[in-house]
Amino acid sequence: MRRSLETIVLIATVFLCVAAPAPALAAPEGTLTVAVATFGNERWLPHLYVGAEDVVLKPLWENLLSRDGKGNLIPLLAERWQVLDGGRTWRFHLRKAVRFHNGAELTAEDVKFTFTAIAKEGSANSLAPEFRLVKSMEVEGPYAIAIRFEKPFVTLGNRVTQGLFGSVAYIQSKKYIETTGEDGAERHPVGTGPWKFVEHVRGDRIVYEAVEGHWRAVPHFKRLVFLKVPEPATRMAMLRTGSADVIESGGEYVDELKKVGMRTLTMPNTVAIWVILGGQWPTRPSYDPKVPWALPDAERARKVRLALNLAVDKKALFQQVLGGVGAPVGTVNYYPTDPWISDALLKPIPYDPVRAKTLLAEAGYPSGFEVTMNLTAWPGRGFLPDVGEAVATYWEKIGLKVKRRPVDRAVFAADFRARSYAGVALAYAGPIIGPEPWELFYRISYSKAAVHLLTEHPKLDAFIERLGAEPNPTERARILRDEMGPWLYDYMPAVAIGATHSIAGVGPKVGDWPLIPGHMGVHNWEYVMRAR
């Protein structure tokens, strides 16, 4: 649903469909080395990985469903499925003769086991809150399972699909984990994916080997090695010298990669960037009504929000800070290719520092106010501190005093849980963990969820609940376009920046790399071809 076919820009030339992969002609050969900044939690059980580490986990496992170029759900481990009872029941029919790397066949018991593990108490899996909504799971024979919910869960398909970020509902083997024990399964995990586990040295390397005769795709390379290289300049040098064949990158390095003659691979519109104006949770003790953009005086808050938006030249920001990778969008967490985008929602609030200053004065801040800009580098989103710095510089031009506060992720997460973000701004990038914008808001700004990174507001709650219960995708798209979008545009305590792309730097050993339309990020290592 998320993006239509014609907008998929493929810098690598060919493309291939997941549903009908061309089998590799030659036997797998050679090694594909990928240098990444982090491995995340480095855990191997469904309730122990979070989701951010999917880049290094995806080779090993598979989800029930996949996505096509239009964002429609298509079969993967499940060959078909039904949504019944307005989304209260989902029935999946599994593909037969899919085998785990230890030889055991995939059955419905494995699905039940995995989903139960994800929902466990104390589970780290980012899908846990949603899988806890499951009322019951019935195994209907070896290849069928029915999952029932109390209330309709219309987007379960997006939770169990390959291709989105953090899609870590990978099906694991019940029997293997039960017989080997959790420790054993962690030391040598098995999955159904096109790569099997060889070695994991914590904080250093993860090594996979191609599964010959895999049901879906036989990799072109024999070995897939992930190296953890925290220093970006070293990753670049490794790519240039051939010590690495693929590196994760960001818009900030695009010019540099071009300059040194490296190829880049772009997966468009995978991450939405905005600057959060923190502290908007009026029901919580940490709420500070004196913050300029706080609610009590709605008119003042609106003026301040508008001024902070008008102060930032989003177009220049994309050009200069993000290497021209991506485009501004006016609404938070909407993408230019969304079916529910409209011209009005797409158009960013213009760059007008003079009007911004006037508005600030009208709001009672003729000489600005003090604000703290948190600078946190998220793995894979290394451009965020740069965005924060650029926005801070713009704000200073309309008279704000901006204190930069570099925080590491542990401090950030703790502050965030304590909701101690009154008066603090922070650049944030939401990756596509669900194609519809409300799916992300459900996680980060729904007052009944555990945390609210962004804001909480009865109106937003109402949107989330309404959309979550609406089984008709066309009607959901209408609500997103005509109701929620405009509301977000006006109300959201944030500076919307826009959508950016995932970038990979690619070395000479890599041949064609058919990005799979509908799949986010560069995760599909089994389709990477060897250079001739």
């Binding site: 542990a410 703790a414 849980r417």
Partner: protein, 307 residues
Amino acid sequence: MWRYLIGRALQMVLSMLVVISIVFVLTRLSGNPVHLLLDVNATERDQAILTHHLGLDKPLPVQYGIYVRNIFMGDFGNSVLTRRPVTEHIWERLPATVELGFVAMFLSVLIGVPLGMYSAVHRGSVLDSAARVFAVLGQSMPAFWLGLMLILIFAVILGLFPAGGRGGVESIILPAFTLGYFTSAAILRLTRSAMLEVLGSDYVKFARLKGLHEQVVLWKHGLKNALLPVVTFAVMLFVQFLGGAVVTETVFAWPGLGRLILESITTRDYPIVQAGVLVLSALYLVGNLFVDVLYSYLNPRIRHARA
């Protein structure tokens, strides 16, 4: 001698206790690892369960007591992240760490000693100054900068060595040089002043009077006697390289102990940070003791002074 050693050992145990306490307090102050282990949308209950599971819900003095007791029983605890024994993770890093430390020390001596000797023999000459400037230069830029420059020149442009990661012999040269060049200035100074002293001593003068060849005098009498401080210093360097090479290990993606500890700080993996720092401090103190003993054993002057 034995009394002295036992005394020192006791002092060391006490020192280690202080180190443990400092690191314990610091890590606890730095935040709860649970925040990073769980997704941002984990519930309070999930956090509570995991916190309890990790034993982090107990009062700090109790946690401290358990920790110290376990250490005395040889148990450093499990990594918060992997829940495997900390010792397993530290052992995993040891080969790479020892390898890098050893080669770096070797390179440091290889640069520092000849330059130091040369500079002592030709004291005051332009070449003396040049040698010293060369060595001091290595000490005048941040290691990460030197490392990145070496990568750019020797890996990217000349293609002589790999840019990062631990592979064959060739992969160790650049990180070891980054460390070794930095410390070579100190070796040079030590060698130089030790040589100057030795060369001014009576028995070298006597050797010269005997008509021995100047090179023989230098290498046999001079260096041999100047070597002791250099060797002991090199031993301590090695000990220090084991954990003190954080930046170099990061720049070269070298899987060493320093990086393990650094990354464990960012993930708040307390047990690894605690055990890691403890091991490094212990190595330092043991190294120090070793050097002291070596001295009093080899150098009668000091033995007398101590007595």
